[in-house]
């Protein structure tokens, strides 16, 4: 069974749009400053929130049971007002610690609590939703640089813009695997 390392990118969509404005730059994303997002890593693999340089401690895994890093993104409203989705995750080609990331879309039944009695498990319901994530297999210890390109849409699904988080004047962010 694969070991899964969850990484969640949180993006302040309202602030991004206020500061950088909308754009139609698909394939040419606007680079955001570091105040407009951050990444959270699951506790078992390092935990904490780096601004963008990540350190993950995870087992190497095997071909039969690889260790996979799954990257997701959402806005601070949990995608209610604006939605944020990773359009492209680029791992530096020369990195030997991570395989190239691939996009995955899988449906699953999301549990929902009852509004009146949220603590009551008998009133849980489910709704089919799509889990959109990018996945990369850990190959070895090492450090890779990466780029996360996101797309922000409004609540009607209209694209507001394409942005790149984590990059800065000092260079690309890195992920260190140990």
């Amino acid at each position: 069974m694969s070991e899964i390392v969850n990484v969640l990118a949180l993006v302040c969509a309202e602030d991004v749009l206020a500061k950088y404005g909308p754009n139609d730059g698909e394939g040419d994303p606007v680079v955001l400053g570091e105040d407009y997002g951050g990444l959270i890593v699951a506790a078992a693999y390092g935990g904490g929130q780096a601004r963008f340089d990540l350190a993950i401690t995870a087992p190497r895994g095997t071909s039969a049971a690889p260790t996979l890093v799954r990257w997701r993104a959402c806005t601070l409203s949990m995608d209610a007002a604006y939605q944020c989705e990773i359009e492209k995750l680029t791992i530096s080609a020369q990195a030997d610690c991570l395989q190239a990331a691939t996009s995955q879309n899988k449906s699953f039944d999301l549990c929902l609590a009852d509004v009146e009695a949220p603590q009551d498990p008998s009133k849980l319901t489910t709704e089919s939703v799509v889990d959109r994530y990018w996945e990369s297999q850990i190959k070895s210890a090492g450090t890779a640089s990466y780029l996360v390109d996101i797309k922000i849409t409004d609540h009607k699904g209209a694209v507001q813009g394409h942005y790149r988080i984590g990059s800065s004047a000092t260079g690309q962010p890195t992920i260190r695997i140990s």
């Binding site: 951050g38 506790a43 997701r72 959402c74 409203s77 995608d79 549990c111 509004v115 849980l124 849409t153």
Partner: protein
């Protein structure tokens, strides 16, 4: 009125592994503020954004643009591995500073996921200490446990 979205991200695996499974919905065990992340937009954050101990600024009632606070809890996998729900708010100190948080479910957003949130209005500035009780369910919808957590919000000008 302006809305301040407070994102509460929980690592459910960590919570269940470190605090155990339980069915104690009436008296959930206390969960300390490691590996829980309260995040607001950068312009509303004063200190320790994306930590368990958020200090934020908000406009109070009577000002031109009073703030509404909206808490949403999400598991780090966005519900794919497990899910977390806020089940109760208990204001311990500063109850007069914000209205009692109420749960609401708004229409689906662009991604079609229902929007479940707890909402409160800022009445005046000051220190609000509260217990936030939450439930963790696994992917199959089975309850893993109930936990309580005591964050605070410093509402400043």
């Amino acid at each position: 009125m302006s809305i301040i979205n407070i994102s509460v991200v929980v690592d459910a695996n960590y919570v269940v592994q470190h605090y155990g499974t339980n069915n104690a919905w009436q008296s959930p065990p206390a969960f300390y503020h490691e590996n829980i992340y309260l995040t607001v937009r950068g312009s509303a954050a004063v200190q320790q954004n994306a930590s368990g101990w958020l200090v934020m600024q908000a406009k109070e009632e009577g000002e031109t643009d009073v703030d509404i606070l909206r808490w949403r809890m999400q598991e780090i996998s966005l519900g794919a591995d497990s899910q977390c729900f806020i089940t109760k708010f208990n204001i311990q100190a500063g109850a007069s500073l914000i209205t009692a948080p109420k749960q609401r479910r708004l229409g689906s957003g662009a991604n079609s996921r229902p929007d479940c949130l707890w909402e409160s209005t800022v009445l005046t500035r000051g220190h609000v200490q509260y217990n936030l009780e939450f439930m963790v369910v696994n992917r199959q919808g089975h309850v893993q446990g109930y936990y309580t957590y005591d964050p605070a919000i410093e509402i400043s000008q």
